[in-house]
């Protein structure tokens, strides 16, 4: 493969012909934040950052990059955890955060068309003010919708509502050669050939750049109630989930959390959690039109929890009460991060009935390897977030411990019929584990798809399925 061209001053001037110079960051103007994402180790500075504002600019930039063999890395808010938006080959970084406009709320088709740089928190605020609901609810609210689509982000409401993919009706994309194309649309059904929209979702910026998205919305549920359920042990807490699911109750979320992560969150937020009686908790959320209707849904669930050993069921039925819990839940990642020197994560998803096995395995692994691992996650959909903490290890010890721990965890997940990533994606950091977890043929098909979309391989190289 021909080496990529580094961006030089001549390229800068050429790009400045179609993108305002003040929206181009060059050499020393490239901030440190552009050299990494939220978690992945290693720093790679792009030669140039282009803060695009329109599809036309994206198309021209892509055309320029493909004509000049320059690697191009799309990036939203940079909140990823697997290095997908890190410019391994330097080159051009295409920053979409200025493409952050709401374009059309279509109330007859219940769709919202918007640009990729809109933040998740802005999106929730926009639709909820108007009585609508965009269900995917990843913890990182300052992520962009473009990033969420690119990783097929899941979040806490997946138990009832599914994931990002389920709410994407259509996309406007720009291919590596600068071709602008719309895949999908406002129509509800589509049996017209291979669904290219679904190929783009979760492709982590390796196949095309998303410049517009048409989201499907739902009417906003009038009320929500969260239940915080204290259990004597984590095994009992997680053990209650299969009977809850089996009872046909449909909470929007079922999360599990342990006391020590809650303490980290209390310290991080400087604010007490509303309960401290137990070592482990389940957190469930229900929605409906009235509090009475919701109470009728959770009555059965409360009984199941009590039968499984819960000490009580605590009811968060107002905004203030729910906020006291969910704010802590939302801060877990940052709280754990601030409790150690460095960390890396595993975002495996296993069948819901296997969550307990996996969590117990992690507990044992801590002792076996001699490293702290903190864990929380979505008990309701089997997606676990386990964080391996560096603490006082030196770099060499850390790399060794990390590799051993990761390998063991992914091997265990495979044996439980799980997947490498539930919602964070593969990016750069997890591709070896993806390869190990899939048949060669499946990886070859993925590489074939990449080849068709991006024959010159300029778009986000070395990610997902590529070496």
């Amino acid at each position: 493969m021909k080496p990529y061209k580094q961006v030089d001053e001549k390229d800068l001037n050429n790009i400045a012909e179609f993108i305002d110079r003040d929206r181009l960051l060059w050499a020393k103007e490239v901030n440190e934040e552009y050299s990494h994402d939220e978690l992945s180790a290693g720093q790679y500075y792009p030669d140039i950052v282009a803060r695009v504002v329109s599809t036309e600019e994206v198309a021209k930039l892509m055309r320029y990059a493909s004509q000049n063999n320059i690697a191009i890395t799309p990036r939203g808010a940079g909140t990823g955890l697997v290095g997908a938006s890190v410019a391994i080959e330097h080159g051009i970084m295409l920053d979409t955060t200025l493409m952050n406009h709401f374009l059309e709320l279509d109330e007859q088709n219940l769709t919202l068309t918007l640009e990729p740089g809109v933040l998740l928190m802005e999106l929730a605020d926009y639709v909820e003010k108007r009585g609508y609901f965009y269900p995917p609810d990843p913890g990182e609210k300052s992520a962009t919708i473009g990033g969420n689509i690119s990783t097929n982000a899941g979040g806490m409401r997946a138990v009832k509502f599914g994931v990002t993919r389920d709410y994407i009706r259509g996309l406007e994309i720009v291919l590596a050669d600068g071709t602008v194309m719309t895949v999908g649309g406002k129509a509800v059904k589509n049996s017209s050939g291979y669904d290219l929209k679904d190929v783009i979702i979760g492709s982590e910026g390796t196949l095309a750049v998303i410049t517009k998205a048409i989201l499907k919305l739902l009417p906003l549920p009038q009320k929500t109630v969260s239940l915080l359920v204290p259990f004597p042990t984590l095994a009992q807490a997680i053990g209650a989930v299969p009977p809850i699911i089996k009872s046909k109750a449909i909470p929007t979320a079922i999360e599990f959390m342990e006391r020590e992560v809650i303490i980290d969150a209390e310290e991080y937020l400087g604010r007490k959690f509303p309960d401290n009686q137990a070592d482990a908790y389940l957190l469930l959320k229900f929605d409906g039109n009235t509090l009475e209707e919701i109470a009728s849904y959770y009555d059965g669930v409360a009984q199941i929890c009590l039968e499984q050993g819960a000490a009580d069921i605590l009811i968060a039925d107002t905004e203030e009460r729910a906020e006291a819990i969910w704010k802590a839940r939302g801060a877990f990642l940052e709280a754990i991060k601030s409790s150690t020197t460095m960390m890396d994560e595993v975002d495996v998803v296993v069948p819901r009935s296997m969550v307990n096995d996996f969590v117990e395995y992690i507990h044992d692994l801590q002792k076996e390897i001699g490293v702290r691992i903190k864990c929380f996650g979505h008990a309701g959909d089997g997606n676990l977030h386990a964080y391996i903490l560096k603490d006082q290890l030196n770099d060499e010890q850390w790399q060794k411990v990390l590799k051993a721990t990761m390998e063991k965890m992914y091997t265990k997940a495979r044996s439980l019929k799980g997947n490498v990533s539930g919602e964070h994606g593969i990016g750069y950091a997890k591709k070896e584990y993806l390869k190990e977890s899939m048949p060669d043929k499946a990886i070859a098909i993925m590489q074939g798809i990449k080849q068709v979309f991006d024959p010159l391989n300029i778009l986000n190289p070395h990610k997902v399925c590529q070496d």
Partner: protein, 263 residues
């Protein structure tokens, strides 16, 4: 130790309708909840009971549906509840409310400590607590941010003053209004809710009051009248800055200094 917590049912959202003629909140149909500040008072009461023993009673004044907040308090650890309700009490201002509450409290029993939230989210005056103490002729401390300790006949508390903190010993019976965040309020318990859902509560009407002068209650007994109630206008201002880390750090520092957030 006998503890009483005064609680109030307030609108659940800020989308509240107001009666044009009387300036009084229309409560029917609106979502309601316990005044968030009262949760801190209730939590303080339940913690004192857990640590020093005794009972926690709750009292509220409002229309019949306000008893919902009494049951909510039971599910958070309160033992007994009383509702003060009568059409004659409607439209009361701060003065009439504190008179009515103090009459109801006298009827309800003798208490060592009466706890109130600092203020309500609908009235926002922060005056009812101390005025109740005045009516009951007992000492009061406002803005309590910490309980130091409880002794046989007194309690030692920290009062938050604008410039400093004053530590005060106050003898029973007394009234305290507590600040937000004195303790993180506990969540209602499902088990307690089931256990107390049919619990009897005391209901006091005008005829139960010691003072039978109708002109001291409700609109008649209110020297102040509300002209207009409206949700506050949000004055959140956002600014977006760009620049290097160094430039932004300086800008943030200068702005915080200019706005007097830092000295």
């Amino acid at each position: 130790m006998k503890i009483l917590v005064c609680i109030k049912q307030v609108p659940g959202t800020n989308k509240v309708e107001v009666d044009e003629k009387t300036g009084v909140l229309k409560r029917n149909g609106a979502d309601s909840k316990m005044n968030p500040y009262d949760l801190y008072a209730l939590e303080t009461g339940v913690r004192l009971k857990e640590k020093y023993g005794g009972t926690v009673s709750v009292i509220t004044m409002g229309p019949p549906q306000a008893k919902a907040v009494l049951y909510e308090a039971f599910s958070m650890g309160a033992d007994e509840g009383a509702l003060i309700t009568d059409r004659k009490f409607g439209g009361a201002d701060v003065l009439a409310t504190s008179r009515t509450l103090s009459q109801g409290i006298k009827r309800f029993g003798d208490f060592d400590i009466i706890l109130c939230g600092l203020q309500t989210t609908d009235g926002d005056t922060a005056q009812v607590g101390p005025e109740v103490a005045e009516q009951l002729k007992i000492p009061s401390v406002c803005n309590v941010q910490r309980i130091e300790k409880v002794e046989k006949d007194n309690i030692i508390v920290d009062m938050d003053m604008p410039q400093d903190i004053e530590r005060i010993k106050i003898y029973f019976p007394c009234l305290l209004t507590v600040q937000k965040d004195i303790y993180q309020p506990r969540l209602p318990s499902y088990l307690k809710q089931k256990e107390t859902s049919k619990k009897d509560i005391d209901v006091f009407t005008f005829s139960d009051m010691e003072d039978q002068d109708e002109n001291k209650y409700g609109l008649n007994g209110s020297p102040t009248h509300v002209q207009r109630i409206f949700p506050p206008v949000s004055d959140k201002v956002q600014q977006h800055w760009q620049g290097t880390t160094e430039e932004l750090a300086v800008k943030i520092y200068e702005t915080l200094k200019e706005k007097k957030f830092i000295a």
